[in-house]
C-alpha cells in the first residue's frame, strides 16, 4: 500500500520542480535577505547590539525562526495548495498515475518534496544565525539551540500547514478559495486567539513560550513538546486523510479504507494530545479556583500563630523531602479545638506530631487541618510536620485573576512563560508564594478580600543540596558539605530559597554584607566594571547613605544579597502588599543576566556614558565612567533614586519592581488592622520616597492621564467596589492615590514633618515585629491629640472630590536688601464637594536642551527640586499660598492628588517675573474670605463652554470610521497621538486654559474647511481687546522645529459689529497664556471669533478667547 521508494522518487522530482519554481525562489531569497538584515541589525557588531539580545545563548536561532514563522506559513499555504491543485486538471500527470503508485505514495511524495525544501530553507535560516553567532565576539553559543528550535518551531508548523492545505484543496478543489480560507485561519489565530488558551491554538509557534533560560532551561517542556507534537502528528494525519479523499487514482477499496482508517487513528491520537493540552491549561485554573474557595471557608476560622519554625529540606531531583518543627501559640481568646496550616497542594503530609504525639491530619488542597485538640488561650504547642512531594506553582498568587494570570509576559517579540517557583534537579527557587513550608496565614479569597494576616516567626532552615549546588536563603549560612544551615538574626515574615550553580561575590560595607550571587557563566559585569574593585565600598556607602537619607529609615538587616534568577521567574503586583516577590527579606532576585533592563546593558551604558561626557565637555577617567554606570544601575533599578525617563501609567500592570524598599518597611515592620487592611500598604506607600518617571505619556495616548481616569473612577465607585470590580492597574493606582491623600491630609492636620517623623520613629522603634493599628492610633492620640480613625473612614469611603481653581498666580523678583528673592503667590479655590490636599512644587535649573531630550542619559541627577509644600483647602474655601524662594523657579507644579481636576497635576511655566523692591514677603497660607466680584468687562469663552462650537465638513477615512465604530469606551478626551483628521476633538493638558478642566480642541491642519467658533454673550457694546490662549510658540510641535526660524500662522475670522475680518496671526512669537489678537467693536448682536484649521504646522489647537472691554 505504501512504498518508500515511490515516495522518495516522487519527492525527489517534485522537489526539483518546486525548487525551479520562481515563487519559491523569490520567497527563499526574501526570507534569507530579511533574516540577514535582521541579524546584522540586531546581533552583529555593526552597531553595539543590546546585551539582552546577546546574553541568552539560546535566543539567536529562536528569534530568527519565530520571526520567519508567519510568512513561512503563508508560503507553505501557497505552495502546498498549488502542489495538489495541479492534478485537478484532467490528464495532467496521468502518465504517472498508471505507474504502480498509490494515492498515499503520491500525497506523501508531494508532501515530502515540500518538506525537504522548507526544511532546507530553515537550515539556511539557522545557519545564518549560526554564522552571526560564531563570528560575534560577545554572543554566547549554545549548539543545542540550533537543533532544538528548528525541531520545535518550523518542522511541526510546516507539516501541519502542508497537511491542512492539502486536505482543504482536495476537498474544495479550488486553490484560490483554499488559500483565502487557510490564510483566514492563520489570521484568526493571530488576531482573535493571540495569546489565548495558553497558546494551544498557536500552530505556527509564534507565541508559544519556548524561551530557554541559561539557568533553568525550558519553563514547561512538556507543554511545548506536546503542543508541537500535536501539530506534527495532526499534519501527518491530514496527509493520510488527503490520500483518502483525493480522487486521482481509483485504488483498491481495501487500500483506500486502510488509508482512511490510519488517518483517522492518527487523528484520534492527536486529539488525545489536544485533550491533554487542554487539561494542562485547565487544571491549574481549577486548582486556583478551588484554593480560593477553600480560603473563603477557612478565612474566619481562628488559628494559632507561629512563633518559630525550623525547616529541614532535602532536594531530591524535582521533589523535596522536608519537615518543619514549629512552636505555635494560641493568641486568640478562645480554646482552639482545631488548628490548620497551609502547604502547597503538591506536597503530601507524611506525619504530624503535636507535643510529641502523632496526630491525624487532614489535607484538602493546601489546607492541613488538625482536629480534636484542646489548645487554651496563650498556650504554646510544638508541632512537627513532615512532608514531601513536588510544588504546584499554580498555587502562587491566588489574588491574581485568571486573565492576568494567563496573560503573556512579553519579552521582545516572544511570550515568556511565567514561573513562580522552580523545583528541578539543576535548579530550585522557592518563595513563600508557593507555600513550600507550613504557614498559618490564609491567602486570598473572594468573601473577605482583606484577610491577609501577617506574622514574624523566627526561622531556621537546613537545606541538603546535591551536585555541589549552593543554597541561598536568609541568614548567615553554615556550610557542612552539601548541608547549608541558615539562621536569620531577626524574625521575618517569610523566607525564600534559591539553590543552583551559583558563584558568590561579597563585600562588607559599614557592617552590612553585600553579596552578589550569579550563575557561573553570568559574570558579564566583571570585565565591564573591572576598575571598580577598590572604590566599590565607597560607591556603596554613598548609595546607601543617599537612599537612607531619602527614606529616613535605616537598613534593618545585616546583609543584602542580590541573587540572579531565571528569566521566567515572574511575580505580580498585589493590592495589599507594596512589594513584588522579586524582593525577599535581605534579598533581591535580579533577573538572569539583567534581562532586558537597560541599566544592565553595561557595554551600551558605557558607550552612552562616553558620548554624554563628550557632549558635556567632561573629561572622565575610565573608572569614573564605570562608577557612573554602576551608580545608574543601582539608582534606577534598586534604589529608584533616579526616575525613569518616561512611563505610560496604567499600560502595564505587572512591571517588575526591584526596589529594595520592602526591606526597609514590609519585611521589617507592619501595622496590622482588622478593619483597615489597606492601611499597612498605605503607610508603606506614604513613607516610600522614590523618584517617579520624569514624564508620563498616558495623556498623549488616552486624552487624560491615568491618574485622572482613576479619579473619575473613584468619584463613581467606592474603594470597596473598585477593589472587587476594577481592573488591577486601576485598583493599584486608586489605592496608592487614596494612601497619598490620606496621609498628606492627616499630615496637614497635625503638621507634615511632625507626622512623618512620628511614623519613621514608630517603624524604627518596632523593627522586626508587627504592631497593631490600635496601638498606633493610641500613640497618635497621645502625641497629637487626634483620632485618625474617622479620617481613615472618611477617606476610604467617600467618593466626593475637591476641585481646585487657580484664581491667580503672581510672581515677583524681590530685592530684599541686596538679596534677590522670589515671591510666588497663588490664590486657589476649592470649588468641589470635598476637602482637598494640594501639593505645590517648584523646579528650577535649565531644562534639558532639545537635542539631548531623546538621548539615553546615564547617572544624571534629577532636576533641582525645591521641597514640595502641601496645603489642605477645605470645601468652598479659597486660600492664598505664598512661597518665597531663593532660586528663580522655572516651573510651578500643583499636584491635586485626588480631585476633579484635569489635569490633576498642573505644571505651569513661571515665565517672566515682575520686579518689586522691598515690600513684605508672604510665606505660608491664609484663607481669603472676600470674593472678588466677577469682572463684567471681561468675557472668556473656553472650548469647554457651550458658546464654543466646531464645524467640520470632512468625512473620516473608511479605516478611521471603522476603527472608531469599534471603540467601546465613551471617551471624552483624546490624546495628542490620536491627532484627528476629520474632526475637532477635545484634549487636555496643563498648557490649556480652563478652571478645573484645562482642555482645548485640536485637529490635524487642513485647508481651512474645519472651523472652531467662540461666540460671546456681549452685554455692553463697545471696543473690545481680543486675546487668544496659546501654549506658547509653535504649539506643541516637536522641540526640534524650534531651531528653524520659520514663522507659522493661525487663521482667525473675527465677526464683529462692523463686519468680518480675516486675521493671519503669527503664532511663532506667542507666549504661553493670553496673546493679543486685535481690538474690534462688538455690540449686543454678538459676533464671534473663528479659527480655521489652516496651518503649516501639523496640528491646530482651539482653546479659549477673551474679550476685554476697553
Amino acid at each position: 500500500m505504501i512504498s518508500l521508494k515511490n515516495i522518495l522518487t516522487i519527492s525527489r522530482f517534485e522537489s526539483k520542480v518546486l525548487w525551479r519554481n520562481w515563487f519559491f525562489r523569490i520567497l527563499a531569497v526574501a526570507g534569507i535577505g530579511f533574516l540577514t538584515i535582521f541579524n546584522i541589525a540586531v546581533f552583529s557588531e555593526a552597531d553595539v547590539p543590546r546585551w539582552a539580545f546577546l546574553s541568552n545563548s539560546w535566543l539567536m536561532p529562536y528569534a530568527s525562526l519565530t520571526l520567519i514563522s508567519i510568512p513561512q506559513v503563508a508560503a507553505v499555504i501557497f505552495l502546498a495548495t498549488g502542489l495538489i491543485k495541479k492534478d485537478k486538471k484532467v490528464d495532467t500527470n496521468e502518465v504517472f498515475f498508471v505507474r504502480p503508485i498509490t494515492n498515499l505514495d503520491y500525497v506523501f511524495g508531494k508532501a515530502l518534496a515540500l518538506f525537504k525544501l522548507f526544511f532546507l530553507l530553515n537550515l539556511v535560516f539557522v545557519a545564518l544565525s549560526l554564522a552571526f553567532n560564531l563570528t560575534s565576539p560577545y554572543t554566547t553559543f549554545q549548539p543545542w539551540a540550533y537543533i532544538i528550535y528548528p525541531l520545535l518551531t518550523s518542522i511541526p508548523t510546516i507539516v501541519f500547514t502542508a497537511g491542512i492545505s492539502f486536505l482543504l484543496v482536495t476537498l474544495i478543489k479550488n486553490q484560490p478559495i483554499s488559500i483565502v480560507l487557510l490564510l483566514g485561519v492563520a489570521g484568526v489565530e493571530l488576531i482573535y486567539y493571540f495569546d489565548e488558551f495558553s497558546n494551544i491554538l498557536d500552530f505556527m509557534a509564534f507565541r508559544l513560550p519556548m524561551f530557554i533560560s541559561d539557568i533553568s532551561g525550558f519553563a514547561d517542556l512538556e507543554f511545548a513538546l506536546l503542543q508541537r507534537s500535536f501539530y506534527l502528528i495532526t499534519g501527518i494525519a491530514l496527509l493520510f486523510i488527503t490520500a483518502f479523499f483525493i480522487d486521482r487514482l481509483p485504488s483498491h477499496r481495501s487500500a483506500r479504507m486502510v488509508t482512511g482508517v490510519l488517518g483517522l487513528a492518527i487523528l484520534v491520537a492527536s486529539s488525545f494530545m489536544m485533550l491533554r493540552l487542554y487539561e494542562m491549561r485547565q487544571n491549574p485554573i481549577e486548582l486556583r479556583q478551588n484554593m480560593v474557595a477553600l480560603n473563603g471557608q477557612w478565612a474566619e476560622v481562628p488559628n494559632i500563630t507561629i512563633l518559630s519554625s525550623a525547616i529541614e529540606i532535602e532536594l531530591i531531583e524535582d521533589e523535596i523531602n522536608a519537615s518543619s518543627e514549629m512552636l505555635v501559640k494560641n493568641n486568640t481568646d478562645e480554646v482552639l479545638s482545631r488548628i490548620y496550616f497551609t502547604l502547597n497542594p503538591g506536597l503530601k503530609v507524611e506525619e504530624v506530631v503535636l507535643n510529641g504525639s502523632t496526630q491525624k491530619a487532614h489535607k484538602n488542597f493546601h489546607i492541613v487541618s488538625l482536629d480534636e485538640l484542646n489548645i487554651a488561650p496563650n498556650q504554646e504547642v510544638k508541632v512537627l510536620i513532615k512532608y514531601h512531594g513536588d510544588i504546584l506553582q499554580s498555587a502562587a498568587h491566588l489574588e491574581v485573576d485568571q486573565k492576568r494570570y494567563e496573560a503573556a509576559r512579553d519579552y521582545f517579540m516572544f511570550s515568556m512563560q511565567k514561573k513562580y517557583s522552580f523545583l528541578q534537579a539543576d535548579y530550585t527557587l522557592l518563595t513563600k508564594d508557593v507555600l513550600w513550608y507550613p504557614d498559618t496565614q490564609i491567602g486570598y479569597n473572594r468573601k473577605s478580600v482583606t484577610k491577609d494576616r501577617l506574622s514574624f516567626p523566627e526561622f531556621q532552615l537546613k537545606v541538603t543540596t546535591s551536585n555541589g549546588q549552593m543554597a541561598i536563603s536568609q541568614g548567615e549560612p553554615v556550610i557542612n558539605g552539601n548541608v547549608y544551615q541558615f539562621k536569620p538574626e531577626y524574625p521575618l515574615p517569610q523566607i525564600s530559597l534559591a539553590v543552583g550553580d551559583y558563584v558568590k561575590k561579597e563585600i562588607t560595607v559599614d557592617s552590612v554584607k553585600y553579596s552578589l550571587y550569579h550563575y557561573r557563566n553570568s559574570d558579564f559585569f566583571v570585565n565591564q566594571l573591572d576598575q571598580l574593585s577598590d572604590t566599590l565600598s565607597y560607591l556603596i556607602t554613598d548609595l546607601a547613605n543617599e537612599y537612607e537619607d531619602a527614606q529616613n529609615l535605616s537598613y534593618p538587616f545585616k546583609r543584602l544579597q542580590f541573587v540572579e534568577t531565571p528569566l521566567q521567574f515572574a511575580t505580580y503586583n498585589k493590592i495589599y502588599e507594596s512589594h513584588q516577590a522579586y524582593l525577599q527579606p535581605e534579598t533581591v532576585y535580579w533577573p538572569e543576566k539583567g534581562s532586558d533592563i537597560r541599566q544592565f546593558d553595561l557595554r551600551m551604558q558605557l558607550r552612552d556614558m562616553n558620548s554624554q561626557a563628550k557632549r558635556q565637555n567632561q573629561v572622565l577617567t575610565e573608572k569614573q565612567k564605570q562608577a557612573n554606570v554602576f551608580n545608574d544601575l543601582i539608582k534606577k533599578v534598586f534604589t529608584k533614586q533616579i526616575g525613569a525617563d518616561y512611563a505610560f501609567e496604567g499600560l502595564r500592570q505587572d512591571e517588575p519592581d526591584y526596589s529594595i524598599y520592602p526591606n526597609y518597611y514590609a519585611y521589617n515592620s507592619g501595622i496590622v488592622s482588622k478593619e483597615w487592611a489597606l492601611l499597612n500598604r498605605s503607610i508603606a506607600t506614604y513613607l516610600q520616597n522614590e523618584k517617579q518617571a520624569k514624564a508620563d505619556y498616558s495623556r498623549n495616548r488616552n486624552g487624560i492621564s491615568f491618574t485622572e481616569e482613576c479619579n473619575n473612577l473613584m468619584r463613581e465607585s467606592s474603594l470597596n467596589e473598585i477593589l472587587s470590580e476594577a481592573k488591577f492597574n486601576k485598583i493599584q493606582k486608586s489605592v496608592s492615590l487614596k494612601s497619598q491623600y490620606l496621609f498628606t491630609y492627616i499630615g496637614q492636620l497635625i503638621g507634615e514633618n511632625n507626622f512623618k517623623d512620628f511614623l519613621y520613629s514608630w517603624v524604627n522603634q518596632h523593627q522586626h515585629q508587627l504592631t497593631s493599628y490600635e496601638s498606633l492610633r493610641k500613640a497618635i492620640i497621645t502625641e497629637f491629640q487626634m483620632d485618625i480613625d474617622p479620617i481613615i473612614k472618611k477617606v476610604y469611603f467617600e467618593t466626593s472630590q475637591p476641585a481646585f481653581e487657580i484664581l491667580s498666580l503672581q510672581k515677583y523678583e524681590v530685592l530684599d536688601g541686596d538679596r534677590k528673592r522670589y515671591q510666588v503667590l497663588a490664590e486657589i479655590r476649592n470649588s468641589g464637594n470635598n476637602d482637598g490636599v494640594i501639593e505645590v512644587k517648584f523646579t528650577s535649573g535649565a531644562t534639558a536642551d532639545d537635542e539631548d531630550y531623546y538621548r539615553n542619559k546615564v547617572n544624571v541627577t534629577e532636576q533641582n527640586e525645591i521641597p514640595a509644600q502641601l496645603s489642605v483647602i477645605k470645601k468652598g474655601e479659597t486660600k492664598l499660598l505664598g512661597f518665597v524662594l531663593d532660586e528663580k523657579p522655572d516651573n510651578i507644579t500643583f499636584n491635586t492628588i485626588i480631585s476633579r481636576n484635569i489635569p490633576s497635576v498642573i505644571t505651569l511655566p513661571v515665565g517672566t517675573l515682575s520686579k518689586r523692591e522691598g515690600g513684605e514677603l508672604f510665606e505660608g497660607e491664609r484663607i481669603i474670605t472676600t470674593e472678588k466680584a466677577p469682572n463684567i468687562y471681561e468675557i472668556i469663552v473656553d472650548n469647554e463652554d457651550s458658546a464654543f462650537s466646531s464645524f467640520s465638513p470632512i468625512k473620516p477615512t473608511y479605516l478611521k470610521a471603522y476603527l472608531d465604530s469599534r471603540k467601546t469606551t465613551n471617551q471624552k478626551y483624546y490624546g495628542s497621538w490620536d491627532r484627528p483628521f476629520s474632526k475637532w476633538l477635545p484634549t487636555t493638558g496643563s498648557e490649556f486654559y480652563g478652571t478645573v478642566i484645562r482642555s482645548a480642541h485640536f485637529t490635524r491642519s487642513g485647508n481651512g474647511e474645519k472651523i472652531a467658533t467662540w461666540t460671546p454673550d456681549i452685554k455692553e457694546e463697545g471696543f473690545y481687546d481680543l486675546y487668544t490662549y496659546m501654549q506658547g510658540k509653535n504649539q506643541n510641535e516637536f522641540t526640534g522645529n524650534n531651531s528653524s526660524n520659520k514663522q507659522h500662522y493661525y487663521h482667525f475670522i473675527i465677526h464683529h459689529a462692523d463686519g468680518e475680518d480675516n486675521i493671519t496671526y503669527n503664532i511663532s512669537n506667542a507666549e504661553p497664556g493670553w496673546n493679543f489678537l486685535g481690538s474690534y467693536y462688538f455690540n449686543q448682536k454678538g459676533g464671534s471669533v473663528s479659527l480655521t484649521d489652516e496651518c503649516e504646522l501639523r496640528t491646530v489647537y482651539a482653546d479659549a478667547i477673551k474679550w476685554v472691554k476697553q
Binding site: 522530482f13 502518465v95 498515475f97 483498491h252
Partner: protein, 296 residues
Amino acid sequence: MNIEITGLTKVYPNGHKAINNVNLQIGSGMFGLLGPNGAGKSSFMRVLVTVQQATSGTILMDGLDINEHRQRIRRMVGYLPQDFTFFSKLKTWEFLDYAAQLATSLKKKDRTIKVNKLLDQVGLLDVRERMANKLSGGMKRRLGIAQALIGDPKLLVIDEPTTGLDPEERIRFRNILSDLSQQDVTIILSTHIVGDISSTCHNMAMLNKGEVAFKGSPEGMIDQVRGHVWQALLDDEEFNLIKTKYSVVSTIPTDGKWEVQLIATEQPHPKASHANPNLEHAYVYFMENELGVSLV
C-alpha cells in the same frame, strides 16, 4: 497479453454513459480503436489503464482482474494519454527518469542507460537537457511514447497519438509503433484518423456512442464496403447534383472537371466505375449506412 473485456460499462456521475456493455477480446499485436469524437474511446482506455474505474463489467488481463490487481496491472501497462502537460520545470531526460523510477526497479546506472536508449530510439537524445515543456508537439508525443515504454510494458495504450502531428512526424510515429508491435506487446491505439489504423493494425474495433459497432480485422471491415465504392470524372453540374445524393469521399479537380470518389450501394452515375475500397471508405460507409451518421 490477452485481454478479455466483458460487459464493460462506464457511467459518469452526470449520467452520461460513456461506455455501454462493451465486450472485446484483444490479443497480442496492434489493436486499433476507431470511432468519432465522443464515441467513448478515451474513457475505455482510461478504464483499461486503471486511471478510471468502470461502473460495471470486468476486464481480465492475462486472467487478472484489473480491479483486484491494480498494482500488478499498472506494472504491466504503458499509457500515453491523448493530451497531457509536462511538468513545467523538468528536463526531457529527468521526465523520463522520473517515469523510469516509478515504473522499474532499475539501479541508477541501468536506468540512465535505459533512459538514454529510449531517448535515442524516439530521436530525442539531442534534446535531453531541454525542458520537457519546451519541446515541439511531435517531440512531446515522442517523449510521451518513450515514457509509456520505459517500464517495458506488456500492454501499451495510446490515445490519439498522431493528432496535431505533421506528416513526417506521423510516419515516424507509426514506424515506432510498428517496430514495437514486432515484440510481444499488445498495443491499443485509439484514433479517429483511419490511416493510422490501416497502416499498422491487424485487429480493430469501432466504437460509436459507447458501443462496439464493429470488431475484426481492417480487411474485414474493408470487405463490407467492397462494391460500394465508385469513382467518376464529372463536370460541375453533375458534381453538384451527385454531392447532394451520395457521400463523397474525395474530390480532385482535373482539367476543369472533378475526379470524385463516392460511396453508393448502386451505380450513382452512368460515368461511374468501381473503385478499390480502403479503410477510410469502409469507415464512411459504416458510419453512414450501418449507423446512420451523416459524415458528409
